[in-house]
Symmetry: C2
Subunit: 555 residues, 2 copies
């Protein structure tokens, strides 16, 4: 046991997503955020990627609290799995703002985790949890109810910013609480764990409020129907679309499951206001004249099953797009989604839609502060040490350069990595010992290690397919007793497949006879020899390396 304060990032460093930071003191733990990532295309068949929480499972008894900064998946999404992993002994309490708690509850319900302990922690209130004093600080971001978290111990305060921008004119609620940040700064911040997402963008991010008039401007120039797509959780954006529609006497229809769900939650908590009679259900969209309609839809990232994607592929049950429709992308593609978004846009052009993206009009504002806002944060809280978080290596490095630019000694900036803790005490700060960290893959209802050999097999199967050979041999002689069965799957374009199969059957007999002559009778050895023999033969014939799977049955 050490007397130091330890800050251990378990996700979100050197990557975008699955943010999770562990703060330890006196043997006790506060976890800030439990985020997930979406799989990249090379993670075949994987549904979600979680931070590896083995460390938390081992230390489950020491967890005083889990604090969630805001309701986005990359900060909240892994909560069900983390709770399930650490809750054998007791449920650690989960704290967050009201909307975040509502979204967490909805998510835990889907996972049938109904006895979790969730509690609202409003900004400004101080929560004592073991040796920690925890305080949320109101911030602005692209979802309401986003907070920074200040965790104070005897040794000092760690401030985890969460995602933030300094929006001076937010659509709803007050601006970020710079006054409280400054106060915390004056009383001394030991370590700042700061969001690096937009560390590569110069200047200040535009205010969310600037988007509304631009949307209305775009709407004014549309003669036909208008379809706006944005993030379902961007409740203030949805509000602005609704306001622009109402101003132009257009009805609004909400399309996409998550859009309706988020608007419902947002509405019940007072984050969104919809005039009476404005909403039209999706199946009534066709009953209204084109110039009287705005559809707000999911699918701004080109997600395969999203409403907009289905509309673009003429596969949506309620809405058929047509020539004359205007489709407005009030969002930019997250890195990695450019291809899917581009495909969707191109299908819309093919249909004859007008497509408006952020290239055509400033109809999106990022939820993450730009360089000057990151500098403002650094200057407000004047931290003794800095750990750039929530970014790939590029953005972490650029964040470190910003710290340098505002006069923070580069020796006091820690470019950590997932699993690499920073330890702070009265003597200073230093990297600790590397802890286990990594990814956990979710596949259906099961979770596991990305190193699982089955995932390597999937790569082979997807690239080259599989040959399965079933040989039935006599337990007495080792000779084949019925003709071998040869089956292949995922091996396309084989000319003369029957001939090839016949040849492979001959090769099987040949290999078995040789093994029998050599006195090889052990099934595993037989299968190994058969595999090597056939793999070489198949490669020679096809110049491909499908998986070759021999099954030898003794009768």
């Amino acid at each position: 046991m050490t007397d130091a304060l330890r800050v251990l990032p378990l996700g979100g460093l050197g990557e975008i997503g699955k943010n999770m930071t562990v703060i330890e003191y006196g043997g006790r733990i506060v976890v800030v955020d439990t985020g997930l990532r979406f799989p990249t295309t090379d993670m075949l068949g994987i549904d979600l990627v979680l931070p590896d929480f083995a460390y938390l499972r081992e230390r489950a008894e020491d967890i005083e609290a889990i604090v969630i900064t805001h309701g986005h998946e990359d900060h909240l999404g892994a909560l069900p799995w983390v709770l399930r992993a650490v809750s054998e002994e007791r449920q650690p309490p989960v704290y967050a703002g009201r909307l975040t708690i509502a979204m967490a509850r909805s998510k835990l319900d889907e996972h049938r985790l109904r006895d979790a302990s969730l509690a609202d922690l409003p900004p400004g209130e101080e929560l004592q949890a073991g040796p920690f004093s925890i305080e949320m600080v109101h911030m602005t971001h692209s979802i309401p109810d986003s907070c920074a978290v200040a965790v104070t111990t005897d040794l000092g305060t760690v401030l985890v910013t969460g995602d933030y921008k300094f929006d001076q004119t937010p659509v709803d609620g007050p601006p970020a609480d710079v006054s409280r940040l400054a106060e915390l700064g004056r009383s001394g911040i030991l370590l700042l764990c700061g969001d690096s997402t937009n560390a590569d963008r110069p200047g200040f991010s535009p205010s969310e409020r600037e988007v509304g008039p631009q949307l209305e401007e775009v709407f004014t120039h549309a003669d036909g129907r208008i379809i706006v797509t944005s993030f379902a959780s961007n409740i203030h954006r949805v509000q602005q679309v609704i306001d622009a529609a109402a101003a132009l006497s257009r009805k609004v229809s909400l399309v996409g499951r998550s859009m309706r769900k988020n608007v419902n939650i947002g509405r019940s908590l007072g984050h969104i206001e919809i005039p009476e009679g404005l909403l039209v259900p999706p199946h009534e969209v066709e009953d209204w004249p084109d110039h009287k309609l705005v559809v707000i839809s999911t699918g701004s990232q080109g997600e395969p099953l999203s409403a907009l994607r289905r509309m673009a592929y003429n596969d949506h049950p309620a809405i058929q797009l047509r020539d004359g429709d205007t489709v407005v992308f009030s969002a930019t593609p997250i890195p990695g989604n450019e291809g899917a978004v581009g495909e969707t846009v191109d299908r819309l052009f093919q249909i004859g839609c007008r497509v408006i993206t952020t290239r055509e009009a400033p109809i999106h504002a990022s939820g993450h502060g730009y360089q000057e806002e990151l500098k403002l944060m650094l200057n407000l809280v004047r931290p003794r040490y800095v750990m750039p978080v929530h970014g790939d290596h590029k953005r972490m490095h650029l964040h470190a350069q910003l710290a340098d630019a505002v006069g923070i000694d580069p020796d006091r900036v820690f470019l950590a990595q997932n699993g690499l803790p920073v330890e702070l005490d009265s003597g200073g700060a230093r990297f600790g010992e590397l802890e286990h960290s990594g990814m956990i893959f979710v596949d259906g209802v099961d979770i596991g290690d990305p190193a699982d050999a089955a995932l390597r097999d999937r790569r082979t199967l997807s690239a080259d397919g599989i040959f399965i050979v079933v040989a039935t041999v006599s337990v007495q002689t080792g000779e084949s007793v019925v003709p071998p069965e040869v089956i292949f799957r995922g091996v396309p374009f084989i000319e003369l497949a029957d001939e090839l199969l016949a040849e492979i059957r001959e090769e099987v007999e040949r290999s078995l006879s040789k093994s029998a002559r050599d006195g090889v009778r052990e099934i595993d050895l037989l299968q190994e020899e058969l595999h090597d023999h056939l793999a070489a033969f198949v490669y020679d014939r096809l110049r491909r390396r499908p998986m070759v799977l021999p099954v030898v049955v003794e009768v």
Copy 2:
């Protein structure tokens, strides 16, 4: 047989890549370009994508000539397969500029197609081929020796622009031959098939010559080694990197197979000049002081096996990158490659390299003209009809808008699609009947139809894996005689796999017994019942749908 002139696009419309246009008159054919595309990530295990050339195979005897506009893969790459498909009777002659012919020959050599008829057709010379008169027009692009092709018949001239920009100050050779284009325009162009690649970019593209001084400026600010990555075929860019290196007394090393190959071809044809003693072989790079070196490398698109990618992953045999190296991306990601480029950049940051991309400095110039250049082309040749080609639907639509902007009647602009010909005669122009078109996939040495069921199987295998069940039944009773074998591959994260396998074996016995009782003895039926039984069982247990493959052997 019709008397009309028919222009049939077989690739490059509604997509980026695999450009191929068929021009027909009097029953005879000229093919302009035989390009390929690279597979998208959902084309599992596929190496290349070709235009479906079934139409050309059927009409092989009618092909007077194949003309290639320039040496890029998306215009030249499918040539070996097209030639093999149409050459049973006789080899159609292939015409192009000198460099393009050299690149075609090198490509055909790799495919052991050594008796193809390749001939140099210099701009300005007129080639008579059946009812066609063919003329190349010198253009500027990101590879030397790029041409437009004018194909003239009794009915008029079709001008296929190929890829082009109007570079007023090219690095090597004359600007595009606007004088000849204007002349052709004055004598009357019937149909313009125009490149749409940059129809979404306003203004004029910067000259290639503007890149050189910018590179030198970047080099001046680098203390350590400099690694520049660009397209290997962009010979003028390579020249400018060499010039900048020479000006700053740095040696140059060429890294990557295609980089060395293209520089060799370019050098032998006089497109590139390298001062004596400037080149250093890759294995001697470590012998030179850091500030005396520039490495020119492949990998600007983040290609998995490229030299730069391998360097970024610390896996290159000759060059280890380190803190202090400057890596210069003198290229922008082609749509779809953003992710791979981003990953490479991030690894470079992790190593501690300085990374300069086009965001940091204007060190790249596109090879495709922007909107004003597309308008200039339209105004120069004043075509009677226009067919936007070489672009996705978005770019084709935007190209049509540009034609509208310069006063071409929208009725004379044909937004065609692959397989949809435009027919022109003295009475006007109209769409003809849709012809067969599509994609051909290359997998190893074999080619085939994307609809091959094996490719659907690959998707199942990659997403969910496979269960293989081998049951050995008595030919007399139909009952299982040895315990069934159950094997799975590509199914990860199974807890208690042994238990699951035991249960599946029981299910197999149960299913076989039931079939035996029901009198089902036909192997196909047995396998079908086994499949349905087990697929339901596996889904119930795993909530996934792996392929289930039962093999029943009778002994």
